[in-house]
């Protein structure tokens, strides 16, 4: 693994140097005297249960840094910080990095670690931008130093459940399986609101714990409720396990299965095309997105590293790039200046035109509805799904509960 990672990093580095077509706008290369490297902290779960995501995210951040080369006359370097996927080491290590002078951070895949890191970075007048999912990050726990690229639960449901209800008017009975914690509750609340609005019957819900691996009991309950659609509101390995077991129970033939918050290409690779065929997936990013930046990124990463950027890679690439763009725009790399530059920033991002809302620091971007395709229809090894629908749906900052200090 270490060898593969080293190989990928080397390849990406070489590729990024050659990526003249991806040059960041506004970077003042070599315009100033060198002041030492501009360090971007990348607090990611490099070890532990989420190490696979951390590995790709680390590669994405490194790619963005190498592509930029230098900003404000300073060579950009990435300092990987292993959060171990836990809030306590995450908070401690971010404190340490700040003690060593780092003020710009891009990372935090898990909600619990992202929330605490955002608070720590803000206390030290730094900037933290994340791809974590918890609504609170730009909702009730929003703060001056924290930004979030990912679409919150409201938008994820709006861009998956709504279009499917429109597409399948005959599907009137929906069943949900939900992880019982804040993230799952957020998705469930949003889904219930859409069901009520659209006159869809919510025929049942099964809660499961954060540690659950066995879903057969919940799936049996779902079968008994005779739904037209099974909506899975868990994520990561739990959603993969639930989907695997649902398919082995034969549910794909009896009902439509929707996974509202998929992890992207890495999840498709783990599940395989046969299992994903005909299943709907909600996604923050897909390598097939038709935007100039995404096309260029996919082409360059494929060329240099012989891989296709997945969500962890692309998300990390995008948020690192945002920090560098903002520092270049601000003409300074200190926290308050970068925050000011990020607030209200409109830019051409991986998902097309994106904007950072100043009131809650939420990036306004598209969320995607994908449909798994048959293995025989795949054009290449990563062509697991078609993009059915995409769009932007967000609560207002007030409705999301953000009171920016």
């Amino acid at each position: 693994m270490r060898d593969r990672r080293a190989f990928l990093k080397t390849s990406l580095t070489a590729g990024a140097f050659a990526a003249s077509g991806l040059t960041l706008p506004g970077l003042l290369r070599g315009a100033r005297a060198a002041e030492g490297p501009l360090v971007i902290g990348a607090p990611l779960p490099i070890s532990g249960a989420f190490a696979a995501n951390g590995k790709y995210a680390s590669l994405g951040a490194a790619f963005a840094a190498q592509e930029a080369g230098s900003v404000l006359g300073r060579k950009v370097s990435i300092a990987d910080i292993d959060t171990e996927g836990k809030p306590a080491p995450a908070a401690r290590k971010v404190q340490e990095a700040m003690g060593q002078g780092t003020r710009l951070f891009a990372g935090g895949i898990l909600s619990s670690e992202a929330l605490v890191m955002g608070k720590e970075v803000t206390k030290g007048d730094g900037v933290f931008i994340t791809t974590a999912g918890a609504d609170e990050i730009t909702g009730s726990d929003c703060n001056r130093g924290t930004f979030r690229w990912t679409v919150p639960t409201f938008g994820a449901i709006a861009q998956t459940v709504r279009p499917l209800i429109a597409q399948m008017p005959q599907a009137k009975r929906w069943y949900t399986i939900t992880p019982q914690y804040v993230f799952g509750e957020g998705l469930l609340t949003a889904a219930k609101a859409v069901f009520q609005e659209k006159g869809v019957e919510h025929v049942g819900n099964s809660y499961h714990s954060l540690a659950e691996k066995e879903f057969s009991g919940y799936l049996t309950n779902a079968i008994a409720a005779k739904p037209d659609v099974l909506l899975l509101l868990n994520f990561g390995s739990q959603s993969s396990d639930a989907l695997r077991q649902a398919v082995s129970f034969g549910l794909k033939k009896r009902m439509t299965i929707v996974l509202a918050w998929a992890s992207g290409l890495e999840q498709f690779e783990a599940l395989g095309a046969d299992l994903c065929e005909g299943v709907y997936f909600g996604a923050q990013y897909w390598h097939g997105i038709d935007s100039p930046l995404n096309k260029a990124l996919v082409a360059k990463v494929r060329e240099t590293a012989k891989m296709t950027p997945n969500y962890s890679f692309a998300g990390s690439y995008q948020i690192t790039r945002l920090l560098l763009d903002a520092a270049a725009k601000a003409g300074a790399a200190d926290g308050p200046a970068v925050i000011k530059a990020l607030e209200g920033l409109r830019y051409s991002g991986l998902t097309g035109e994106e904007e950072i809302r100043a009131a809650d620091h939420q990036v306004i971007k598209d969320y995607y509805l994908l449909k798994g395709k048959a293995k025989s229809a795949m054009k290449d090894k990563d062509d697991f799904a078609d993009v059915i629908q995409s769009g932007k749906s967000f609560l207002s900052p007030e409705a999301a509960g953000c009171k920016m200090a």
């Binding site: 070890s47 809030p87 306590a88 619990s112 914690y181």
Partner: protein, 334 residues
């Protein structure tokens, strides 16, 4: 005669030396503080494992409880930090006494399973009552304590605060271990039936050991929450108990300073190795296997051997391989 390294003043002197050396040798005040905080929690775990022979998976309950008391006391109730720390101490003692009172009714594997069950139960309580604990997101915005109107926000100023409390509690634990009470715990560990036959109320002693251990662990949990600004759900998870036990075994169950050694070695190794290799826990597993097979007195045993080599004193014997780790602590034999 007590060997030089095991003398109380030498042990305390070593603890003071570590407290003074850490700021000189380490760049990170946060990591240094964490070493002392976990050193306290591991010493408390050692009181149960090394001195009483109780392999408890419940230590995470008390550590997590202390974190939540700190969070609720400082954030929700606005109490001063000293009051919060005292509440953590008292709350930890009470909950530990209750857990201990039930768990010690069974011995061996059933005792271990009971502490594991309590651990899971408290984890799910914290997970379920998310309005109180913050659930999976944790209890956020826990402030650093104030001292004379100054917030201890700097890593080394907070370290100094932790260091003073660490030394005070370390000395207190030493007093406990050296007291008649502590000696009785050793007697219970070595031969519970004989201790009972002599007339010692074995259960009461075990519950008291639990209470003292729980109090100190909760105190450490509160300090940890103030250090990182959050009371995370993971602090009350059974993995925390597991980590504390691993630290205890790595350091050695022979004495209290070994606990500081175990905490320091684990945290420093985790910090260094995790940056090098994502699967660093495999190395930790290997280390545990080596210690269990060949170094049952942990790192402290290694130091004892080194000192014995230099002074040409007879090296301390490792316990017989078939003896459980809990029974391997040998201080009482001396």
């Amino acid at each position: 005669m007590i060997p030089l390294l095991d003398r109380p003043l030498v042990q305390f002197g070593l603890a003071v030396a570590v407290v003074l050396i850490l700021p000189v040798t380490m760049r990170s005040g946060t990591l240094a503080s964490e070493i002392l905080i976990f050193g306290l929690a591991v010493a408390a775990c050692n009181l149960l494992l090394g001195y009483t022979g109780l392999l408890s998976f419940g230590q995470g309950i008390f550590f997590g409880l202390g974190s939540y008391v700190a969070g609720l006391g400082l954030v929700r109730a606005g109490l001063p930090a000293p009051v919060v720390l005292l509440l953590a101490l008292g709350g930890g003692a009470l909950v530990a006494a209750a857990v201990g009172w039930v768990s010690i009714r069974r011995q061996g594997v059933y005792f271990v399973m009971l502490t594991l069950a309590f651990s899971q139960m408290f984890y799910f309580l914290a997970y379920t009552f998310s309005g109180l604990t913050g659930g999976d997101n944790g209890l956020l915005d826990i402030p650093r304590p104030r001292l004379g109107g100054t917030v201890l926000s700097g890593p080394w100023t907070y370290y100094a605060f932790v260091a003073v409390l660490f030394l005070a509690l370390f000395a207190a634990l030493q007093r406990v271990a050296l007291s008649t009470f502590g000696r009785t715990l050793l007697a219970i560990r070595d031969n519970e039936a004989r201790a009972g036959a002599i007339g010692y109320p074995v259960r009461a002693f075990k519950v008291a050991a639990f209470a003292i251990s729980g109090a100190v662990t909760a105190f450490a949990g509160a300090l940890h929450a103030m250090l990182i600004g959050v009371a995370p759900l993971s602090n009350i998870d059974y993995h925390t108990s597991e980590t504390l036990l691993i630290m205890t075994i790595i350091g050695g169950t022979a004495n209290l300073f070994a606990s500081l050694l175990g905490a320091g070695a684990y945290l420093l190794a985790a910090d260094a190795l995790s940056a090098i290799w994502p699967r660093w826990l495999l190395l930790l597993g290997l280390l545990l296997i080596v210690i269990t097979l060949f170094l049952q007195r942990g790192l402290w045993g290694l130091i004892e051997r080194a000192v014995a080599l230099v002074t040409r004193a007879p090296p301390p014997d490792d316990p017989a391989p078939d003896r459980p780790v809990a029974a391997a602590a040998r201080e009482g034999d001396r």
